[in-house]
């Protein structure tokens, strides 16, 4: 089992492209569903977000990720699952979460990707600290009502 999950800093477009290119050698794949989470320059009551600093309980996150992966492979006819999450500072526009699900058909890739994103946000011990202009910060909150 692959145990890579975290990437220091933003996830580069070159890295994402390389993953897409790799999957083109697998001729039993018909659908690639990709989610890229990107840091927004939100205006908050504490100021403008100038970046998110991510930390994680890495060993626990890797274990949980293996459980999530196994449960999705059991539930959906999919070919592969890849998840990468940034650690450290990611500035607005930067990619902090890269999810890739491939399958023969689009339905499986879609629903698996949706469930995967929801689980990554709800179950992985990762925290984002929104860094503001004027040297302030606030801890990011994932709203509980989000279905994905």
């Amino acid at each position: 089992m692959r145990r890579s999950l975290f990437i220091q800093g933003p996830i580069s477009v070159a890295f994402i492209s390389a993953q897409i290119r790799k999957h083109q050698f697998k001729t039993d794949i018909g659908a690639n569903q990709i989610f890229l989470g990107q840091v927004r320059a939100d205006q908050t009551t504490n100021g403008l977000v100038t970046g998110i600093e991510y930390t994680a309980y890495e060993q626990m996150a890797l274990d949980i990720m293996e459980e999530i992966r196994a449960s999705l492979f059991e539930k959906y006819p999919i070919r592969c699952i890849h998840v990468y999450h940034s650690l450290g500072l990611v500035k607005p526009g930067g990619c902090s979460l890269f999810i890739y699900v491939s399958a023969a058909h689009s339905e499986a890739a879609f629903f698996a990707c949706q469930e995967l994103l929801s689980k990554v946000k709800k179950q992985l011990p990762i925290w984002g600290k929104e860094v503001m202009d004027k040297q302030q910060y606030q801890w990011k909150v994932n709203t509980m009502t989000e279905s994905v």
Partner: protein
């Protein structure tokens, strides 16, 4: 035999405690660990947290047998 526990603090909580990890000896269960931690850092009462015993989330008291890692974690906010 009573247990030896490494306690980890993550995210916002580590700013409250000003520590990312402490060690606690001679504890019988996770409730005892929580009491000791809350007594040492009373401000933690004001925050929501989750507890993981050996990298598994727990919702109730667990007996401790030897060496363990217990993590105090704010609600997750990855993505």
């Amino acid at each position: 035999m009573k247990a030896e526990v490494e306690v980890l603090f993550f995210g916002l909580l580590s700013e409250i405690t000003r520590e990312t990890s402490i060690r606690i000896w001679d504890v019988a269960d996770t409730n005892s660990v929580e009491n000791i931690v809350i007594n040492r850092y009373p401000a933690l009462r004001n925050y929501n947290y989750l507890i993981a015993l050996d990298k598994q989330l727990i919702n109730e008291n667990r007996l401790l047998v030897s060496e363990h890692t217990i993590a105090f974690m704010p609600p997750f906010s990855g993505g």
